[in-house]
Amino acid sequence: MADVTTSQDVVTYRDSVAEGIAREMRRDPAVVCLGEDIGAAGGVFKTTVGLFEEFGPERVWDTPISEQAIVGAAMGAAMTGMRPVAEIMFSDFLACCWDYLANEIPKVRYMTGGQVTVPLVIRTANGGGLGFGAQHSQAVENWVLTVPGLKIAAPSTPADVVGLLASAIRSDDPVVFFEHKGLLASKGAPAPDGHVVPFGEAAVLREGDDVTLVALASTVPLALTAAERLAADDSVAAEVLDLRTLIPLDVAAVLRSVERTSRLVVVEENPYQGGWGGTIVSVVADEGFELLDAPVKRVAGANVPLPFADALEDQVIPTVDKVVDAVRSLTKY
């Protein structure tokens, strides 16, 4: 999944997580972290390394294995003046505190008629490709998309990690922040000082007139590699959009691109059934129907649990080959 690296690419996605949190903790004393093994241990994915040392035990709290208490306490703290950043170790475990994500956090502001705000961030390691099996490999951003009232960020580069974390932590709305396990070791340019990436703005990472590839997090490098291969082998110019956030969703950027390319392939890691690509396709098949010259394709996870063996996992998650094949099936049109 590694992107092509350059001499500028000096920081890892992993280190950028801790960096992004630290920048906000320095700015705002209301920012506090909680989660399992995030303190002295620096987190299971080493994404909170250094925070405990810099900010101490009153800002970085180790918790029991109690996902409901973690997220529920973050909610209570957010309602009363803090800006908690809660870690749920693997995104699969969001299922253990789903009530808070589905029923409590996104609804309390609305159902109290605007009496409270819940400025919190739930960070979590998302996605597959590492052979962790069915219960530790899922891309579950689509679970969160089913719930109105949550913002959703899923960066694909180290700089976006920092910039989107800044927006997330400063947001007065609750944000679920997906850090992709498969990207943690990837490198990129460091985020400049004060870097803030606003929510709801897709990045056009590569321009092209023949087909639009819409991607997120792990599928961004996939789409870029596929685009290179299509350019080289097929002389097809693919435009690659990195959505960066699912809510707010930058469908305007997608429609703008499809206006030029007339062809759309959505590349998403979550399963096809109920995957977020369905929401994008819905908007395009409605508002962009007249722009389309070919069927719309989704290269998504297969509708099966994730198998352990690497070779089996490759069968069921998006790959460069699958993206290339999907585009080829369209350019025949």
Binding site: V32, E58, W61, T63, P64, S66, E67, Q68, A69, I70, V71, G72, A73, A74, M75, G76, A77, A78, M79, T80, G81, M82, P84, D99, Y100, N103, E104, V108, R109, Y110, M111, T112, G113, G114, Q115, V116, T117, P119, P148, G149, S171, D172, D173, G200, I247, P248, L249, D250, V251, A252, A253, V283
Partner: protein
Amino acid sequence: MTDTTTATGLLALHETMSVIRRTEKAAHDLFMSGLVKGTTHLAAGHEAVAVGARAALRDGDYAFATYRGHHHAIAWGATPEECLAELMQRSTGLNKAKGGSMHLTKAESGMLGSYAIVGAHLPMAVGAAWSARLRGTEQVAVAFFGDGATNIGAFHEALNLAAVWRLPVLFVCENNFYMEYTPIGAVTAAEHPAAGRAQSYGLPAEVVDGNDVVAVRDAVARAAVRARAGDGPTVLEAHTYRHYGHSRTDPGKYRPDGELERWLERDPLTVSAHRLREAGTSGDDIAAAEHRAAAVVERAVANARAAPEADLSEAFTDVWADGGAAWRT
């Protein structure tokens, strides 16, 4: 604040309980006549828990309640009119008619919501207490919950985390001996569903007469002192009884004969009237308080009836902190 340990103070508590009782009666009648929609879970019978607890706490403290939460909303300063207007889907409702009976909230006075998923608010109260500690205030947070809530996972996680972090939070169980229609004893492996679990977390616990506003106030006051002193959470189990059924039109037929009647003998208002007379308050003074309460609720009903329906545009506000509901560009 009124000194609630004096006869005058106690009369104020009695009056608030009377306001709650009459509001619940009004809610019931309005439901029956079709003006209150959806569902209600009335707290008639539970008044002493709400009023006693509030009396023991300070302005700035936090409360989290359940779908059976009218009494807490009122004890924490919501007016009967705001509450009834909410139930009647009026634009003047406490939650702008967006919440309903199960979600009464008076955030400006620290009553941070009523939650309808059993047990979910216990971790929130833990978080509010954590926040108080982080901000270096002396605030405490209270979670009120039912006996049935003690069997759900969030209860366990909340108590453990609060105990480990020694947070200023009070867990106040309103044990009314029933979940919906099932007696709590039939589904709970502890005689005292809340207090009997406290030692699992090394927490002090007290079983208290939940129909005696003074007993509740004193127990909560003790717990609050501990909490503010940094000695951590306390579990209180207040025994009480709901006079109506579980919700809406439930006639409560699953209750054994005579049970309700026995509890009515220890109606919190009877108990507090008795205490008032013992403290030397005259029957006239008590009657005057009852009349004031009745007048407040009558006016509330009239005003709520007369208030405009929910404003349709409200359907698309308050999702986000900017007031809007935009999910896309």
